[in-house]
Amino acid sequence: MSTILEPRSRRLARFVRERFPLENLDPKHMIEKKEVPRHRMSWAYYMGGLALFFLLVQIVTGLLLLFYYQPTVSDAHASVETISEYVSGGAWIRNLHAWSSSAMIATVIVHLFTTFAMKAFAAPRELTWVSGVSLALIVFGFGFTGYLLPWNQIAVNATKVGLQSVEAVGQYLPGEMAHWPTFVRETIQGEPSVGQATLSRFFAIHVIVLPLLTIAALGVHLMQVQLHGMSRGVDALKVKTEKFFPFFVIKDLSVWGVAFFVVAVVAMCLPFDSFLPFPLLEPYNPLGSTPDGIKPEWYFFFVYYPLELLPYWAVIAASTLVLGALFLAPWIFARTTRRTLSALAIAAALYFVVMTVFGHAIYDALKGGPP
């Protein structure tokens, strides 16, 4: 009750103080005393670190690609080809960048689901959660902008379609506002249709803007984790723990090592392109017809197929709701049990997996052949 009677300014000060217990910011607390709970869901504690690891791989391989990549409409595709075919070790670096990006997104999604199920967002960890959801969006932004950079037929057309769906919001807006989405889309593109300006700004967003945003959000995220320690993750009152240093650190690093090994070997043996139904190597041709069955990367399927199948407004409404609920989860689900949260997370994960794996089959079944 006292919190309600407190003046607003003091309540804010208390909120900030509780979220930033800076007295915890010393090696003693962060290294010697830090403990990691051990229970059924302990494996989930590795996900955040793993995502961080893949991010590091992305930064290193991305920097290396930057040595040769040329972000112009006439040279982009050729420079990617040069990297793959003529630069020593270039194919591996590029493959690693592609595979590791997929791995990073997959890990981030698992991290999101598991932390939700474990109610890791409960007070005082709201800021960890909000910064985490922002990071997840940033990661999807990386995916969307990076996809365009090789400037091939599929990527350019997929980007066109993706941006055009922004414009489709216009039909639900009244009067003058109906033109705003078009304005937004052309602002993103930098010109009336996807072209050099789009490539330039997607490149800038991919290699400068989003990395800076990542550093900011990740800074908050990691600092919060350090200040508050690991969340308990289960309902049980007494939980066994193990020391963060050295035991958990060693295991964490082992997981990183295995992950690197797997991604490195996969990148060496299987070109990422081999998973796409069409060769990526065809450069974009502005005069040709749009190729059959253009699709975004697999991690957009969960929103892409609903967009194809359901009325546009329904998808937009649902996405807005889900996104809002995600950001506000610490307050919306403050009193929800972990049991319920797990059920929600499992349902969401099921939806994601079904849409990703069977999305195309569902689409074919519902849409059928030509009418």
Binding site: L64, F67, Y68, V73, S74, D75, H77, A78, E81, T82, Y86, V87, S88, G89, G90, W92, I93, N157, K160, V161, Q164, S165, A168, S193, K243, P246, F247, V249, I250, L253, G257, V265, M268, C269, L270, P283, N285, P286, L287, G288, S289, T290, P291, D292, G293, I294, E308, K367, P370, P371
Partner: protein, 439 residues
């Protein structure tokens, strides 16, 4: 005579070995269940054991897994190994693993033959099995070296042969002409399978998988004399950490050293051969020309009142010609049923994809992105299509060689002017700037 022996080795022996293995296993399990494993000698000697057993088991497990995959899913596998990088990787891993197995097996053999304590529990069948395994691994390595890329050729020979055995329709012809080295490797494999229930190899059937997640147990010599004068040693966590860190650094250093050549040259940059450079330059020129063409088109559209699309006789009723309209968007030119050109926008009214250029039987154009069919005559999409608005027709002007307007069609779709088919064929089709066509 020789062929009879070969048939026995390729057909008789396999069935004998498998039946013997099954029958023998049942017999051993029923008569002496507690011996249904390998007799541990870890507390008799543990240093050489770890140096031998670990490499051996890691190596042979990898190699056997490779064999199993190629035999179980030969077609899928053949698809994988058709990728050269994958093939080389598999071959290198296989050879590396078999060398690892060889080293481990050698260590185990030396240990079993020279260590007094281990000798005390060694039976003759142990030696036989070790010797045969050694021979088998050496044969395998020889096969891999002499007749390389077994992962490819085995999918068409050994794999179908094994399937023919498994389906009780033995077809030895599949492997009859393989080199003797390979046939020897196969025969020895059957003999080893036969020996499984009668030797320590039986532990293959009693792999203690539970060890992976049970609490660690350390086998110790319980005799108190062993501990006389030795103080209990507490290994601090720090030492484990340092050891782990050292192992990671050494591994990292090895990795760096191994890949230094490749990644050093990454920064050195590509040095294509003259031929490759020419190819790259040509490619680059082509792309530059494409970019230049785009610019030219847009300049042309801002300056000219009319833009030529094609000769009338070049137009086809079924297959449209792509061109770029005044708004720099793709459009299509057909020959209409009335013998007049039919120009229609190719930018799908749904999400802006470029529609296909060929008409289907019903005279419709398909947008491949979200499957909308547009009637070419009206531009209207089919019922239930994602696109709601029709593709707009584009106004055109027909001019003869002298530049005189012969016929035209406005934005309203009505044609003006007279059309003489014979003369029309000589004319060119143009699109006109907006203010012109509306008149």
């Amino acid at each position: 005579m020789e062929s009879q022996l070969l048939v026995f080795l390729l057909v008789g022996l396999p069935y004998m070995a498998v039946l013997g293995c099954i029958a023998g296993s049942i017999w051993r399990y029923r008569t002496s269940r507690f011996s249904y494993s390998a007799l541990s000698s870890q507390f008799l000697e543990d240093k050489a054991l770890i140096l031998g057993s670990m490499p051996w088991h890691l190596g042979i497990f990898t190699v056997l897994a490779g064999h199993a995959v190629a035999f179980l899913i030969p077609r899928v596998w053949a698809g994988f190994v058709s990728n050269q990088t994958f093939l080389w990787t598999v071959e290198a891993i296989g050879l590396g693993a078999s060398l690892l197995a060889l080293v481990g097996l050698g260590t185990l053999l030396v240990r079993r033959l020279t260590n007094g304590r281990v000798q005390a529990v060694t039976t003759s069948i142990d030696i036989v099995v070790l010797g045969l395994l050694l021979a088998q691994v050496v044969l395998g390595i020889l096969v891999a070296v002499q007749h390389s890329f077994g992962s490819v050729w085995a999918t068409g020979t050994v794999a179908p042969y094994l399937w023919s055995l498994a389906t009780l329709q033995p077809n030895p012809a599949l492997v009859r002409d393989l080199p003797p080295l390979v046939q020897g490797h196969m025969a020895l494999a059957w003999i080893l399978i036969l020996l499984v229930p009668f030797s320590r190899l039986v532990h293959i059937f009693s792999i203690p998988i539970g060890y992976l997640w049970r609490a660690p147990q350390i086998v110790v010599w319980a005799n108190p004399r062993r501990f006389q004068g030795v103080e209990a040693v507490l290994i601090p966590a720090r030492r484990y950490f340092l050891r782990g860190a050292a192992a990671v650094s050494v591994g990292g250093a090895l990795l760096a050293a191994g890949t230094a050549g490749t990644f050093g040259r990454f920064f050195f940059g590509p040095r294509p051969s003259e031929k490759e450079q020419t190819k790259l330059d040509e490619q680059k020129l082509a792309r530059l020309r494409q970019t230049q063409r785009q610019k030219e088109l847009s300049v042309e559209r801002s300056q000219k009142r009319y833009i030529r699309i094609a000769k009338v006789k070049e137009l086809d009723a079924k297959k449209g010609r792509y061109f770029i309209d005044y708004e720099m968007r793709a459009a299509l030119a057909f020959m209409g049923e009335d013998g007049l050109p039919l120009l229609i926008s190719a930018k799908c009214t749904h999400l802006g994809c470029t529609v296909g250029s060929e008409l289907d039987a019903a005279g419709r154009i398909l947008c491949p992105c979200h499957v909308s069919y547009f009637d070419v005559k009206t531009g209207v999409p089919n019922q239930g299509a994602p696109a709601k608005d029709p593709l707009p027709h584009i106004a055109w002007v027909m001019m003869d060689e002298k530049g005189d307007v012969v016929a035209s069609r406005g934005g309203d779709g009505r044609a003006h002017g007279t059309i003489d088919p014979a003369k029309a064929a000589l004319c060119d089709v143009y699109i006109a700037k907006k203010e012109e066509s509306s008149s």
